[in-house]
């Protein structure tokens, strides 16, 4: 349903998105049945294709040629997909988008090869763009995302971290790839640097807003909506913004400690969720997410008049306001 809403927002791009879907399928073709099955399995599970959409929309501010720009869009989606395959090994996840993960269907090693294969296909695709800057941006983004994930593992269970640590982490975890999607779309379409920088910042702010909402939803959505127990982030040791905002609260601290040391029982999880949902932390997190959203919208305002400005705005608002 939510995905339908999002698709409606970029209805004008539907034919180009279909091109991207076909390219993704072609890119993941392989002589190895296992790799092909594993990659297509993930591809068919869907996804919002947010990154390709941002690549296409940003490119609309320059010389838009779908036959060129598709290579960037496909690369960005593949980088995202590959990192999901490896993340499922790190998180020991059995399900992704309601389907068994590659690691659970085959094993960790096959998941590593699948991720490496998809990463390599991503890079292979973007080499069709002969632009050094584009490669510098994508390669640095890949390194930074990795550093973000390393920090996330370092920060796990560490309750003394502060909100700045959290922002630094989600910047790398989510915002950078969305920011780079916008920036690369612009660069590949020859958009001038000033406009490209607005698009880059737009992507960054949208990404920050989006991740904060994602972290809130982990606590406020139902187990059914999430496809996993609500509060999983905390139980896996990931300290998110709402938790950081309530961690000094004497009523909440015992629950947080239980979740972190793995002793939380089901009734305690329910009680914790009830308490945190009633706390100011959720409201405050939404407020902070909205601040990023407003910054994103200001960046859109600074862009030259163009028919896609409205789409950028609508998608940003959708991402920053989504209920699930």
């Amino acid at each position: 349903m939510e995905k339908m809403k999002l698709k409606f927002l970029y209805a004008d791009l539907q034919s180009d998105i279909k091109v991207i879907e076909r390219e993704l399928e072609t890119a993941l073709d392989s002589s190895s049945h296992y790799l092909k099955d594993a990659s297509l399995h993930l591809l068919k599970a869907g996804g919002k294709r947010i990154r390709p959409v941002f690549v296409l929309l940003a490119a609309k501010f320059g010389r838009y040629d779908i036959h060129q720009i598709k290579n960037v869009a496909v690369a960005l989606e593949l980088v995202h997909m590959a990192s999901l395959v490896h993340d499922d090994v790190i998180d020991d996840s059995e399900l992704r988008r309601g389907r068994p993960t590659v690691k659970s269907q085959w094993n960790n090693r096959v998941a590593m090869y699948t991720g490496d294969f998809i990463f390599a296909k991503a890079i292979e695709n973007i080499t069709k763009i002969e632009n050094q800057k584009a490669h510098e941006i994508l390669s640095k983004t890949m390194v930074e995302i990795c550093i973000g994930e390393i920090i996330q593992i370092e920060d796990k269970m560490y309750l003394e971290q502060n909100i700045r640590d959290y922002f630094r982490r989600i910047k790398r975890k989510t915002a950078l790839l969305i920011s780079s999607s916008c920036y690369l779309g612009a660069i590949a379409a020859g958009v001038d640097e000033k406009v490209a920088s607005h698009l880059k910042r737009f992507g960054y702010y949208v990404g920050m807003s989006y991740q904060i909402i994602d972290d809130v939803l982990d606590l406020t959505a139902s187990d059914k909506q999430l496809g996993k127990p609500a509060g999983s982030d905390l139980m896996q040791g990931n300290i998110t913004l709402p938790v950081l905002l309530v961690k000094e609260n004497a009523d909440m601290r015992p629950f947080i400690n239980q979740a972190l040391n793995g002793t939380m029982k089901e009734d305690e999880r329910q009680a914790f969720l009830k308490k945190i949902r009633q706390s100011d932390a959720i409201e405050e997190s939404y407020r902070i997410s909205n601040l990023y959203l407003q910054k994103a919208l200001r960046e859109v305002e600074a862009l030259p008049s163009n028919s896609v400005k409205k789409s950028l705005k609508d998608i940003a608002i959708y991402m920053g306001k989504r209920k699930f």
């Binding site: 960790n108 390599a120 490669h135 390669s139």
Partner: protein, 260 residues
Amino acid sequence: MNAAYIEKQVSQLKKNILMQLHHRTLLQFTGQPVVEDSQLLYLLLPKINGEHWSARHEKAASAVAMINAALHEHEKIDEQDATSKSQQLTVLAGDYYSGMYYTTLASISDIPLIRTLSEAVVEISECKTALYEPEKRDVKEWFEILQVIETKTIEQFLKRFDFDAYIDIACQGLVLTRFKHELQQYQELHQNTRVKRVLEQQKEYAGLSYEQILQYQISDLSSNLIRSIKSSPFLLDEVKTIMLQHIESDMSEHQTMREG
């Protein structure tokens, strides 16, 4: 030129690569990235043999070693359980080194090499996955698969810079090194690896132990490599001598071990 000169070239390149890949947390939990001397030797062979060699060649060679280090990290992931902190960081170490290879080549704008190395990683991933697939393959096909896994990235580097003449020797040398390593690991740890299971199933090797299969391959590959080096018109005599001395001393060591 002597063996010490070659060792110095290899160790200098290795030092530079390790410096670029340095990451405090990864070092603490996953150890140093694996940058194999044998791979560096074959990457540097054109330079050692007096071919034109620039800073661009050096960076590209470093990038190849980085992607190999990345792939090597992912070989350390346990098939069933990767939940420990060090295993989780090993997954990320591979991704990080892979990103560093791409960053290195992007900095010199070598887009053709980025492309061919990506193609190599695709092929290597396919070959590694083949070890898990149920399809029956004969010995020749398995050796082709193992050769791709061990040599493809270095082969692409040599092709990119028109050092094609070195490819044959590099491929033979790298596969030989892998078998020696496999034998050493097997003798020390007696691990039941995928390669072991695959090779033991071949009818050509019926009645032979895994150790015997490896020893047979090592002798065969060593003899072939010696022949290739001796008959290479492009290798300087002094380079030939050093390489042959190295292989022959390894062979006699290997022979002593077999007899012992």
